[in-house]
Amino acid sequence: MARFVFRRLLTLIPTLLVISIISFIVIQLPPGDWLSTYVMQLAQSGTLVDQAELLALERRYAMGQPMHIQYFRWISRVVRGDFGMSFEYGQPVRELIQERLLLTVFISFCSLIFSWVVAFPIGIYSAVKQHSMGDYAATFVGFLGLSTPNFMIALVLMYVAMQHFGLSVGGLFSPEYVRAPWSAARFFDMLKNLWLPVIIVGTSGTATLIRVLRNNLLDELQKQYVVTARAKGVHAVRLTLKYPVRMALIPFVSVAGWQLPELVSGEMITAVVLSLPTTGPLLLSALLAQDMYLAGGFILLLAVLMVIGTLLSDILLALVDPRIRYE
């Protein structure tokens, strides 16, 4: 086991290096660079822009250099933990991401829990009681959840929350708590505003989960070992939970690790619509503005999480399914 993990960790390094090169190139593929975005931003609000100012900026950010030199400058610093400065914010990339990371993970984690808590009972129920009224109802709601885009639900709920509950929209805190230091009252205020994003981010995940669990379980329930166990008089609930459900979970476990990067970027569209102070909107604006180092830092982070997540998945899978060996 330890050797397996070690070997996987070793292969991590070249993988990440390749990812960093590819992402650096991809970020720079769109026409123009941050300066062209900057010029357009100025033009929009009618602010004066001067060739001289652009030259100064280009020099300051070493933008005129060829791509491979820029890459080596960047990556040699990244190795030392310095992700560079964001052009747009004029702040270190690490600070910018750190600022928003905690809240992002918290929201994503809550919605993950939310979707599991809701999806597991419903999924199992609708598989065991296939073709019952409850199954049809769950299926119907599940399809609705699957097909409605998150941002649509977000817009509708946001309007309802403002118009009928008088909640402040956008952000995670009511106006009176935005600038307050952390306290119990502020935390509860956040919880009051948190349900909205949690439900919205959670719904599509929940719907998927219900569908997949139901289908996997239906397959298992018809297998001979279940029939045999049932014939031998094993208690129905215990039987279902102990064997078929466990089997039905295996496909989940194999992709569970992929939730890790989702924790950081999954709620992007919802977060933009709801104006949450999370990483999603920051990543989006970095990509739109071609804020090279910020976007690069993000993509590298997501890649690391993805690779680690896959590794965790593999280990988990081996634990859940004894048939898998580390060869």
Binding site: S45, A52, R59, Y89, V178, R179
Partner: protein
Amino acid sequence: MNARKILSLVSVLLLLFGASASAAEPEVFATLAAFEEATGESIVTFNEAPSLAERVAQGELPPVEERISSEPLVLRPADAVGRYGGSLETIAVTATSNAADAVNIVEYGQQLVTMTHDLEGLTPNLAKAWDMSDDLTVLTVELRAGVRWSDGAPFTTDDVMFWYEDIILNAELTPVVPVNWAPGGETVHVEKIDDYTVSFEFAVPHPTIVSAMGLPAAPRHFLEEYHIDYNPGADDLAGERGFDEWWQLFNYYYQIETNQVRRIEDYPALSAWVLTEVAQTYYVYERNPFFWKIDSEGNQLPYIDEVIRTTVENDEVYMLKVMSGEADIAAFSLQLQGYPVLRRNEESGGYRTMLWGSIFGSDLYLVPNYTHKDEVLREIFNDLRFRQALSLAIDRDEINEILYFGQAIPRQATALPITSFYEDWMGEHYAQFDLDRANELLDDMGLAWNSDGTYRLRPDGRPLSVSIDYVLLEGPKDRLTELVAEYWGNVGVLATPQSLERSLYQQRGLANEGDFRTWHLDWSSDASMHRLPHRYRPPWHNPLVVAGGKPWWDWYESQGTHGEEPPEVIQHLFEVVDQWQQTGRGTEEYERLGREILTVNVENLFKIGTVGLSPKPVVKTLRLANMADEGIFGSDTAFFGPYLPEQWYFTD
């Protein structure tokens, strides 16, 4: 005529001749002495905000008399002398850009000279007086004596000289001097006359510098530490902070980017409010204890304690927050199309929606690419009859009804009617809807219809089809271009609107690509056009963005060594514009040349206009007093700046 001496004359003249101006106009007096002389009133005691009085009592601050400078500017508030307190909530859709309601509220006050909100006159600000030589090459500025930066350090001509000698003339910090400070290609020469007087000498006449100089100064006491000439260890200091070179750290503090928001807390400033807290989703600007303006009863301004700028991620949330009354003042991201919704929520939100004037001579103007790489299209675009036909084919009244509730004005793409050399015929020129005449002009050109009569053919037999490039910002450009394309289709010109991401749009412009390119027509009033006539000569936009005919600009800029030689009329236009920019505003020559520039542009229809002057919704909370009810909102007027936010106050 002798050198013009402009002191508080502006405000006095306003008082004497401004009969049409409503009573609710704040009045500016250059200095306390000028106020006392003009009004006969006198101010003997000075007051300050309770929070500052407390700090004075604790010995943290000098008394108010010492903080307001020895020559404070006096403001008679618009409606009433206000009361201290409150925080002004504003919202911004972007965290980084200056395109936000708060920005000109807090930073506008830092200029030497400011513009009045009607775009007509100039007001003394940090400069109590200025004097332009007869030949318009030497500007002498007299600073207010005893002004201090927000950290208490004195503001003198040393700060101006530091800006000049150590920033502008430093090749590391300023590789190329901005055109504004190097007209005619030669860098300005700045000379310190005494602690409060400084002169700027230019190689060529440069009349626009007075309104365009901003703040040519930097807090020397703060920045010296980061400058290699003053601190040999500046490079090491930069290294410790993660920079490669000293000038990078220096620039981190002294931002050259005019459009980026300052994110450095407690950086010395001269404005009414200074940035004191930067958080993820909001910025706080607190009152500047050393602000150098007082009201007509001796109260130190500003009245409002702090300005908050909250960041949201999109226009919808901005709108929802305004509707629920979470903004005390809002305009930037509001569009006329949202006006009904704003009105509907006025009562529950506790605010008022006003319609202000716009600075857009046309909400959308279209420019064909006169230097198109396709020779056939190029010839068609350069034929005046083609542009006349396309202009006549647009049903501007319908656009106005469909998209602007009939509130905009159908007109040609030209200057605002308030411009001194504007004439009524210019707005009407070829702005009528006349399909027959349009078809006649196109027939004249020999652009025959195809056999089915569905579209016209180019001389080389291919269908006459053009794209209309646009970027979706500042108004409903998607629907506007769709309508225009439909109208042009009616006369046989196949047009396809094409929405482009902003960087791609810019890159295509620089590469001389695209058929028709579009923008909103700002920079179209006296002061703004005089300073930057980009909208009235090739490429009819900033040369870094380009509307059409970039190679013509290259030819002009390189004095004939690059680009393409433009036709006679364009060469003449370039000359007239140059001449006009060196002519003092208000003279007969100025108006004659200005009129000529407009005439050449309109008669040749270099830009095709749609509708313009559509009103801008501006929202203010009912609690806010001394804030104008009418006005013009836009970059020309620096947004809220000239409405003097330092004299706004909350009534409760």
